[in-house]
């Protein structure tokens, strides 16, 4: 077997492990609330998460993949194509090892941050500080802080609005019925916008930005109306008696939305380096513009889905049934804040952490007095994980790279 084929297979396995890990651990942060609040069953959560992360990964994931793969360092100056292959393989392996340790120890680290740190580590050791695009790195680091913050502000605002216009009104159920179609419409507006703008779907249909807004608005109005009709039918069937039940319907929607956003954002962590290695292995050189094949994104999507099916469901179950605080209204706000901030970041090509955005949203709803007790200690631990993940993932990857280069 040729060495490049061997590396390719080995990297695919490690990339698959990363994807599996995302499915096994990170999906729970977004799906557990819906299961805990009994909006969906565990089985439904697993199926929804599996299908939608796959769809999100395959059809929306390309832009983030691009940033992680090429944006943060200049592969031309790393050395020969073989050195680049070894560097990217080491980065993927290094990030995986760190993720494995963090998962074992229960540390709130991000797979996204680990892979970025790992790439920087191998970049530094192979080509020195000059090949790293530090401007981009600082931008990415800023986005790590901004995305949970944005997610928190969004969740805070949405919950405050729900509280003022629904929960604190005397006829709160009636108010919930009146306003929920708007929430459905807004949610779908953002989903459609994400689909149309800069995704393979939007490009294929050749829709301009202004048309995207128009079509998204039409789509939002339609889905809002459908939502309105569904809620009316459910009310007539006597299935809706209180506010939480109405939001249960909305939460199913936002859970799908989170799963979709999750796949689109996080697939890059697993297949970013793999895509680069594959193109170098095939062409034998570091190309100027590398096409990211759909089947590779699909591989990442399948990896995440298998992660959910094999282990993720247990984590969703454990977390979901122990978080009793996340009722449907709160869960909706958390999901909405998380998914919107992740999708926007994903569209801007910024690799942010879905997990940290979810924690940001929980804190946001907490500050809006939506939760009885929010532990800010976790926020501190996340900040610590921000500080340690980069150097540790970078260090592990750099060591692996050195060992592989000596071996080679």
């Amino acid at each position: 077997m040729e060495i490049t084929t061997f590396i390719l297979i080995a990297t695919a396995i490690v990339g698959f492990y990363m994807a599996w890990n995302i499915g096994a651990n990170d999906v729970a942060n977004s799906m557990a609330s819906a299961v805990g609040a009994k909006a969906i069953t565990l089985r439904q959560a697993v199926i929804i998460a599996g299908v939608l992360t796959f769809v999100g990964a395959t059809f929306v994931g390309t832009h983030v993949t691009d940033t992680v793969r090429k944006g943060i360092l200049n592969p031309y100056e790393m050395g020969t194509p073989m050195v680049v292959i070894i560097a990217f393989s080491s980065a993927l392996l290094g990030a995986s090892i760190w993720i494995f340790i963090a998962t074992w120890k229960g540390l709130p680290v991000s797979t996204t941050h680990s892979i970025v740190g790992a790439l920087v580590g191998t970049g530094l050791i192979s080509g020195g500080s000059s090949i790293i695009h530090w401007g981009k790195i600082w931008g990415i680091i800023a986005s790590w802080v901004i995305s949970p913050l944005f997610s928190a502000i969004l969740a805070f605002l949405v919950f405050t609005v729900i509280k003022k216009i629904i929960l604190q009104k005397d006829k709160s159920t009636l108010m919930a019925k009146r306003y929920s179609p708007y929430f459905i419409g807004i949610t779908f507006f953002i989903i459609f916008m994400s689909l149309f703008l800069k995704t393979p779907l939007g490009e294929r249909l050749q829709i301009s930005t202004s048309n995207s807004v128009l079509f998204s608005l039409i789509g939002a109005c339609l889905t809002g109306y459908i939502g309105y009709s569904i809620i009316n039918i459910l009310t007539k069937m006597g299935k809706i008696q209180d506010v939480e039940q109405i939001f249960r319907v909305l939460q199913v929607l936002t859970s799908c939305y989170v799963a979709f956003a999750h796949g689109s954002n996080d697939v890059a962590n697993a297949i970013g380096p793999l895509a680069a290695i594959r193109s170098i292995a095939i062409t034998g050189e570091i190309g100027t513009k590398v096409q990211i094949p759909l089947n590779l994104l699909a591989l990442g999507g399948i990896g995440i889905a298998i992660g959910i099916f094999t282990w993720g469901y247990r984590v969703i179950k454990t977390v979901g049934f122990r978080i009793t605080e996340l009722t449907n209204t709160r869960g909706f706000c958390v999901d909405f804040g998380t998914a919107t901030s992740v999708l926007i970041a994903s569209k801007l090509g910024l690799p942010v952490s879905t997990t940290h955005a979810a924690v940001g949203a929980v804190v946001g709803v907490g500050l809006a007095r939506g939760f009885d007790a929010v532990d800010f200690g976790v926020v501190k631990n996340i900040v610590i994980s921000w500080l340690v993940t980069l150097p540790i993932a970078a260090g592990i990857s750099a060591i692996i790279f050195k060992l592989l280069v000596i071996g080679h």
């Binding site: 557990a32 709130p108 509280k163 005397d170 978080i323 009793t324 979810a358 929010v374 532990d375």
Partner: protein, 221 residues
């Protein structure tokens, strides 16, 4: 497992407060029965109920300790944590005084004149009424601080206001009872024993009133 969202949301301290309130209700009920038995001279039954009150007070203390232990500085609550903890302590004081009252009564078998007995029980029932009104609001406290509607808010405020009135009524009965105990006289030990018991029981209503004020403060935030 790596799920930080799970660690971000802690168990609701309000649930702890409700658990504590359940013990308060149980304990106050036993306390009422105990004092009734004492007034009727059923000292054996009183002794049994006194032990029940002490056990329930002890259980509630344990719950209180557990709530406080799980509320470090980094935990953020929708209400002022100081108000919440003071409310909990005031709640706990209700039980402390109920326990003190049965212990004090148990020191001596003092027989009561019918007139004193009637007033003594009247005072007791009024005090118990303040606690029951408080508990009716506490049952809904979690809802009251977040998603309360104007109507529910007005209702809760009305109940809390009525605690003040009931406490005032209890005070009036207490004064009347004090006067009556001196008026009817008797041996010095009996007078002192009964007077002190009345004072201790009166504290229960005072603390129910204080706990109500703290709930009002939590609602106002």
């Amino acid at each position: 497992m790596r799920a930080p969202i799970f660690k971000t949301l802690r168990r609701s301290p309000f649930e702890g407060l409700l658990e504590h309130a359940k013990k308060v209700k149980e304990c106050v009920h036993k306390f009422k029965e105990a004092v009734e038995c004492y007034c009727d001279g059923e000292y054996d039954e009183f002794e049994r109920l006194r032990k029940d009150v002490m056990k329930l007070e002890n259980d509630a203390d344990w719950i209180k300790g557990n709530i406080t232990a799980h509320l470090p500085r980094r935990i953020f609550m929708p209400v002022d944590k100081g108000d919440f903890l003071t409310c909990l302590h005031e709640h706990d004081d209700i039980l402390d005084f109920a326990e003190d009252a049965v212990i004090w009564l148990g020191f001596r078998k003092t027989e009561m004149h019918q007139e004193i007995k009637d007033l003594f029980l009247k005072h007791l029932y009024k005090v118990i009424e303040t606690v029951e009104t408080l508990e009716s609001v506490v049952d809904n406290v979690k809802h009251l601080v977040v998603s309360v509607t104007m109507e529910e808010r007005a209702k809760a405020k009305e109940s809390l206001k009525s605690i003040h009135y009931k406490e005032w009524e209890a005070d009036q009965i207490e004064h009347e009872l004090g006067r009556k105990i001196f008026e009817l006289g008797g041996d010095m030990f009996s007078v002192y024993h009964l007077l002190q018991a009345v004072f201790v029981i009166a504290h229960i209503a005072d603390h129910a009133e204080n706990a109500g004020d703290k709930i009002r403060a939590m609602m106002a935030r």
